[in-house]
């Protein structure tokens, strides 16, 4: 219940409040650190539920012909879970690196699926937007990991 409540707060922040807190036109995605935390600390069931909900909400507001975000988040979440079972990831720096990798991984899956659906692929825009999003989200993750760890 607590996890769902935190998730709900995150939805409100991400959807309604972060618009006014953009850094260089980039809206930080606080769902990435949230999912990384769930993947590293809880069982796979929780991860699938939250990864699915994040992807579902994003796809609900998109115009793409597929649920690309659902697929992207589910796959990346599952890989992350497998990774966490092989290695013990306690250092915050490592978690932040994982956030950066996850941003890129979801981005690649999304672009690949959209390319298969006939959407044009612009490498420059992909790299620039994902890099910006990844860097700023990972930088903010320092703070977010502390908050999530304290609350959950």
């Amino acid at each position: 219940m607590k996890r769902f409540f935190i998730f709900f707060i995150f939805i409100i922040i991400q959807f309604y409040l972060l618009d006014s807190l953009k850094i260089f036109n980039i809206k930080i995605d606080i769902f990435f650190p949230f999912l990384v935390n769930i993947a590293l600390n809880y069982n796979v069931g929780w991860l699938i539920i939250f990864a699915y909900l994040v992807g579902f909400l994003k796809d609900l507001l998109s115009i793409y012909p597929l649920g690309v975000n659902i697929i992207g988040f589910l796959l990346s979440g599952y890989l992350l879970y497998k990774l966490s079972r092989k290695f013990i990831i306690n250092l915050v720096y490592l978690k932040i690196l994982i956030v950066l990798a996850m941003v890129f991984f979801v981005g690649i899956i999304k672009e690949f699926l959209l390319y298969l659906c006939g959407y044009p692929f612009n490498f420059a825009i992909f790299l620039k937007s994902n890099l910006n999003l990844g860097i700023w989200t990972s930088l903010l993750s320092f703070l977010l990991f502390r908050i999530i760890d304290t609350v959950l």
Binding site: Y16, L17, D19, N25, L60, L61, G67, I70, Y78, I125
Partner: protein
Amino acid sequence: MAISKYKKLVASLLLTILFFTAIFLPLFRKQILDILEFPFKLFHYIVNDLKALIFFHYNFLENRYLKKQILLLQKRCIQNEEILKENERLRKLLSFRENAKFKLVPAQVIMRNPDSLTSIIIIDKGKVDGIEENFAVITDGALVGRVAEVSKSSSKVVLLDEPQFCVSAIIQRSREYGLICGTLENQLIMRYLDKQADVVVGDTVITAGFTEFFPKGIIIGEVISIEENPGGISLSCRVKPAIDLYKLEEVMVIVK
């Protein structure tokens, strides 16, 4: 061992179902959005009211600025009316075909896409208000985007800076043609301008009116830089949108 196998089977079955819902989500997305419209609106109003309370000093300053603007615009309106009448008379003299009349439907932005990798807003007007796909959306006389998906009482609007968005445009001063596309950076790129095109920084870019749904003359933005394309065949220029796409609250849909 048997339990573990059973668990794996259930997990893989669950994952398959989830993947299938991902594939078929676009089919029932409109219906879900219609159901979720009320909570979206509710949170939008609550958050907006809270913001207004917290940042009341901004509203005070904005109010003062807007009062000045009203006075200025009233003067300009009177001047414009004269010009409009003169224009009508001259048009009749030259027997020009009258421009197609458009109806404007005001709408409120109730939601934004949650990330910065796509540029989409959701407005509170849909099919019942006469809105259809591809209709142009404006605010303060400047182009905002186009309607991409329409459900019963809400619509999704793709904003100007979304890479999937392209519209034919002209430089207002020199009438040079090009194609405006989004870059996701609150900046647009105007492509396929002739190499000899007469463009300078500060030029205003307007819609060309080549497409059915975008009337001619809607302001898009202002040229901020010009660059030659690698092949040297054409020019491109960066355009700053006339409006702040991230602070949209009310928009108008141009309905034919």
